[in-house]
Symmetry: C2
Subunit: 497 residues, 2 copies
């Protein structure tokens, strides 16, 4: 960036990113530190910052410099063109939404969230249905404002994974559903049954130390990040200050450990993005699916592997000698790779997880194309769970009300989780082909080569490439089900033979 307008653009984007990072910190603090009765002030603080960020995002001088640069776009180098195009998308997304819509949507989000929480507590979908309908209407309106016409669901998918669309995902998921069926069936019908009840009384302090050691070994830079405790694990901030969380349960040490590893995957991505470009598309993540590919790769392909546990099992036993005394090595590894029929997405394993996502994607499509009404959602939900997972949720709380996403109007978000799984498997095999000694690395607690490979092949691209192009650039082929299916077969079928 050198010309005066480019410098103006850079300065304005920097200011937006700085203010948004303050908003992010408010959100982190709310989930990690906020005293129980301080929520009212935090709501006011967050609203005030949101307004400040919005004002910076729709700054008319920013609009002018975008227009000026667009008039000479051919003279810009490739990187500057990317920055300009993404800045234009962000600007339009902020500027094209009428203030009245933004206000109304903020109020709806708050009301719908509370309605969802109450409905879930009462396990009564009917209380939430009218709010879901309003969120669907608002989502369609959003797409219209942004010029997507009646392609509302595509608009929301694109929001999470730029360049993705309903048709592409539908084709992938349809294939995946077919291919997963026999794998799930073989595993669940196997006589091998993991026993996760073997984990009892693991002191939190020792769990915390163990997961800090592991996440450091993986490469998370605690000089520019931290890990804390929250109700639901998450990763926030950016590469300059990456804040992740986990949660602890003395009787479920694998949950805290793998939550921390999952968030470390997100954190490593943030920390690997080009440091001096955090405010432009060159230093931002490619999208939700790409982000999830990183968390899943570290969580599953790396840290549930035999090689990884060959290295860390002895450490784990040293920290919890009495608790693991009667647990064999095989039983431990099987518990780490436990597969089961679970009605709850966030508690499910990496094999069945994809089916939970496919169900939500099918439902979202039907809600958007009008073939399913909000009121009829529970019935459709339960039918799909029966069909794909042979599960009948005992009630709405365990079924259609389990996830928070729809209460905030976050449609088109769920598919990212599964797209991330697809990409993770592809990345794994691509890395392994170029670095066949990777698993030997893991046996020595050495992850640098994999991390460097990801930095070069994924992180360094920032938001330059849409998801499918990123897949091609990093793995040689667009997203497909092949790698994930192969990976799941290779990992799980021998275990559950």
């Amino acid at each position: 960036m050198s010309s005066a307008p480019l410098q103006t653009l850079d300065r304005k984007l920097k200011r937006i990113q700085t203010l948004e990072s303050v908003s992010g910190l408010l959100g982190w603090d709310e989930l990690v530190n906020l005293p129980p009765e301080s929520a009212d002030q935090r709501a006011e603080q967050s609203a005030a910052l949101a307004q400040v960020c919005h004002n910076a995002s729709v700054d008319p001088e920013l609009g002018q410099v975008l227009a000026d640069l667009e008039a000479q776009i051919e003279s810009l180098d490739a990187s500057d063109q990317i920055v300009l195009k993404e800045a234009r998308k962000d600007y339009d997304r902020a500027a094209r939404l009428p203030e009245e819509y933004v206000d109304r949507k903020a109020r709806l989000d708050s009301a719908a969230y509370h309605a969802w929480a109450r409905a879930r507590a009462d396990s009564d979908f009917a209380q939430f249905a009218p709010f879901l309908q309003q969120q669907l209407d608002a989502a369609r309106e959003f797409a219209e404002h942004l010029g997507w016409g009646d392609r509302a669901y595509d608009c929301h998918i694109d929001l999470h994974d730029p360049g993705m669309d309903t048709a592409t995902i539908a084709a992938l998921f349809s294939e995946l559903k077919t291919e997963l069926a026999p794998i799930v069936e073989r595993i669940l019908n196997s006589n091998t049954k993991p026993d996760v009840s073997i984990f009892k009384g693991f002191p939190i302090e020792a769990q915390s130390e163990f997961l800090k050691t592991i996440t450091s070994d993986l490469g998370f830079d605690y000089q520019r990040g931290r890990i804390d405790v929250s109700l639901h694990p998450f990763c926030s901030g950016n590469g300059a200050d990456t804040r992740m969380t986990t949660r602890f349960d003395a009787d479920n040490p694998l949950d805290s450990l793998f939550s921390a590893i999952h968030e470390t995957g997100h954190g490593l991505y943030e920390q690997g993005l080009p440091r001096d470009q955090l405010h432009t598309a060159l230093g931002k993540a490619a999208g939700m699916g790409a982000h999830e590919s990183q968390s899943r790769l570290w969580e599953n392909q790396v840290c549930r592997s035999r090689a990884f546990w060959n290295r860390y099992e002895s450490d784990f036993r040293e920290r919890f000698p009495s608790q693991l005394e009667n647990v064999s090595s095989d039983a431990l590894y099987l518990a780490i790779n436990s597969v089961s029929r679970n009605p709850i997405r966030v508690d499910s394993d990496e094999v069945t997880y994809n089916l939970h996502i496919i169900i939500r994607f099918e439902l979202e499509q039907r809600l958007f194309d009008g073939s399913l009404s909000a009121n009829d959602l529970p019935e459709a939900w339960n039918a799909l769970y029966k069909e794909l997972l042979d599960i009948t949720p005992r009630n709405d709380a365990e079924g259609v009300l389990q996830d928070v996403h729809w209460s905030g109007g976050a449609f088109g978000y769920f598919p990212s989780y599964c797209l991330g799984n697809l990409l993770a498997a592809q990345l794994w095999y691509a890395a392994l082909e170029q670095l066949p000694e990777l698993e030997a690395d893991f046996e020595r607690g050495e992850f640098t080569r994999l991390l460097e490979w990801l930095r070069t092949n994924v992180h360094a691209h920032g938001k330059r490439l849409p998801l499918n192009e990123l897949a091609v650039a990093s793995t040689g082929s667009p997203l497909s089900t092949q790698a994930l299916v192969k990976y799941l077969e290779d990992r799980y079928l021998p275990l559950y033979s």
Copy 2:
């Protein structure tokens, strides 16, 4: 507040307070949570928020509504008049400073802080002297912008304690210096020598639990506040979300405990201010001296008392049985009320502490009236320490460079500490006269009556009364040395007889 202009004023003050509370949270997070290498981003975030706050503070619409209301001030009720007058002071303080000055001062603060830190590390005042001179010049310029003419030091005193001035403080401190001399001499010449080396190996976790119990008993509301760890203890936030810190040393449990109690005093004040008026003068603290009176009262008059330890000594011993096994009750109480000759202000006891402040006040006066140059400060510092405390600092780090305040241009701040001590003693005797059973309360771990008395007589006033008027309203007389001297004699002379 009912008229439309009053509502506009209220809304704008609310917005300023909300944005400033976000700035406050950034500051808290920086000292409590910030990863070591994330400082650059935090500096940018803080600068961006400072600008946002400044813009809100000098909003021309705010200036207009202030002028409109001033034109009809006689028609406003007393509370609204206070709100208006204080809002005008804040507005002028923000609006009268040229942008160029604000920018230059921000850069000076940063440069002077780093120069001070280096000079202190090298124990070489000469490195800091030119920056101190620039801060003095900037402080004089500040006073001129705000219309104080050549009363620059008064301007800065008024900034910390509205209504206070150099002459009033000089008269008080001169008297106090004379009255303290024989007390200090008797204590330090006594054969009774407290032994603070008796504290060794107090586990942090148990210290933390003990101080949480005590600060809760005192009345700190952890539903709207927290305590964390930082290098230097402080209290930030407001009554809606009060965040205090302490620090831990296994060999100095009294430091962490009394730091926490001191900050709890600040926190109780914040939590006691009128909840719905945090954005106006009605819900803000009266000033630094008033604030310090609260922290000191709880720390010293209450929690160093015999009655308090009659209640808590057994709890303390239960938590640290082996560590306190060979420490007698008298030895413990003496260590809690240890007086010694210490060159460092923050490590000094409540008797000699006032002399440290008087020294700084005398030096500040001379720096401002031109009779002392920045370059000659160390010599003057050491002479006063010799005269008042019979101490010769071993070097600049232990002497003139020990405090951070002057590096940020915070002149007129030190006197507040001693004014707070004066008011704390007056409040103590006034409360005791009206509630003679207070110490019996402490013996039972009961502090509600004292807290309620402070809420009614101090907290409820907000910023309505300048410090001396607050003293009259709450204790029946303006600030004087009488109560503090009587308190110190009553507490310390029997101990060191």
